[in-house]
């Protein structure tokens, strides 16, 4: 296997295009290297973007937060401004794998690897992220809902496209976001369930709510029924509990021998969603 260190996103794309589908992007490497060593993928070339200059850093300006695709989960989880603006994103990014993994793995990688319950992916999914993608046709912007093609399958073709950054809005004072996770142990363990929520509340009533949950389908799944129910309501205990139950209408969890049966997940998911909403409420009080 050959290796190219890309100094910029353009250089990375150039290397991909020259290799005509035989090269893939490697950011943190925590999925790519494991899959490569297990023989699940056999690229002829790795295009390493971890040091690409224009894919680094977190910029906060003009009501937007731009996170470079090479930014590690640790950088996000420990970023002083992100901690204030979106503690939920820090929490989600800060629970992936272990500290060693987070020191090299990226948030964008957590989305592009398209595992159903990436904690970073679920946390960011409630924040209406937009992904900037560079390909031979130029630059385009992709919404969260258009990132996932199936279980472990991204709509991003990592042999022909480079995600350069993810952008989320700075939250307004009347908005809050939360992330919840249920796990077997606190480190090195995939979630049994995770859920994220973001709400906007004016005059004591919810203007809109976004709820995402996993692993209950392909990628983070929106709890649309619960979201629609919440609009215009007050955040009372009863309303939040009802929203938790309604989340099940959009959830289709499967049984996992380690991380909970379908029945267990169905019984537990409403609690996770309710807790995420309660956390939002507490932040707004």
């Amino acid at each position: 296997m050959q290796y190219v260190k890309a100094n910029s996103a353009a250089e990375a794309l150039d290397a991909l295009l020259k290799a005509e589908g035989k090269a893939i992007i490697c950011a943190g490497g925590s999925d790519v290297m494991v899959d490569y060593n297990a023989g699940k993928i056999a690229p002829e070339m790795l295009v390493d973007v971890s040091r690409a200059a224009d894919m680094q850093g977190i910029k906060i300006a003009n009501g937007k937060i731009e996170i470079g695709a090479a930014v590690t989960l640790t950088e996000i989880a420990t970023h002083p401004e992100i901690k204030k603006l979106y503690p939920s994103l820090c929490k989600g990014c800060g629970t992936v794998g272990s500290l060693q993994i987070r020191n090299s793995a990226t948030l964008v990688g957590n989305v592009v690897s398209a595992q159903p319950a990436g904690d970073g992916a679920v946390a960011v999914s409630a924040l209406e992220p937009v992904f900037t993608v560079l390909s031979k046709d130029g630059v385009r912007e992709v919404a969260m809902a258009d990132m996932y093609a199936g279980f472990g399958k991204s709509k991003i073709d990592n042999s022909a496209e480079v995600v350069t950054k993810v952008t989320i809005p700075v939250p307004a004072a009347d908005e809050a976001a939360a992330f919840q996770r249920l796990e077997l142990r606190k480190s090195l363990s995939l979630p049994m369930l995770n859920a994220a929520a973001m709400v906007k509340v004016q005059n004591g009533k919810i203007v809109w709510a976004r709820i995402t949950m996993a692993p209950v389908g392909v990628g983070p799944v929106r709890a649309q029924e619960a979201e629609a129910f919440l609009a215009g309501k007050e955040m009372t205990d009863d309303v939040l509990a009802e929203a938790g139950e309604l989340a099940l209408k959009n959830a289709n969890p499967r049984s996992n021998p380690l991380r909970g049966s379908k029945e267990f997940r169905i019984a537990t998911l409403p609690v996770m969603v309710r807790r995420a909403l309660e956390d939002c409420r507490a932040q707004l009080q």
């Binding site: 290796y3 494991v34 790795l46 500290l99 060693q100 993994i101 020191n103």
Partner: protein
Amino acid sequence: MVLHTTINGQAVVADVDPSISLAMFLREKLFLTGTKIGCGKGECGACTVIMDGKAVTSCIIPVMRADGANIITIEGVAKTPTQLHPIQEEFIQQGAIQCGFCTPGMIMSAKALLDKNNDPTVAEVREALGGNLCRCTGYVNIEKAVFAAAERMRKGE
């Protein structure tokens, strides 16, 4: 491919197969076998080294990522060939080692933490060591060793 890196303070230039991991390179090419490979998947921490000040699992780092980087392995932790680092001494003192397979990785994770923060909370120690599995000790003495080492490091050791 030619790799230029710094390992335990020494400049290293080597011709490498870019498809191998940093852990394989350390063990098989440089014979720095203190770095262990347990799972080879980033799930046990036995292969932990410090790269540019951060703990990473070297089994899933492509070797060429070490290009231009500064790497510390367990072999580079002792202050001199005859004087161990306080973290190493406290692992021995507190009985934090049984079979020893996890120990190099544990010590590298502890060092990455204590080099930046020599007065950590229990939560910080657990976060730093949460990626290192130990099948023998039950972790309690490991935690004690890290705190004992931190105290000594605060006194300038």
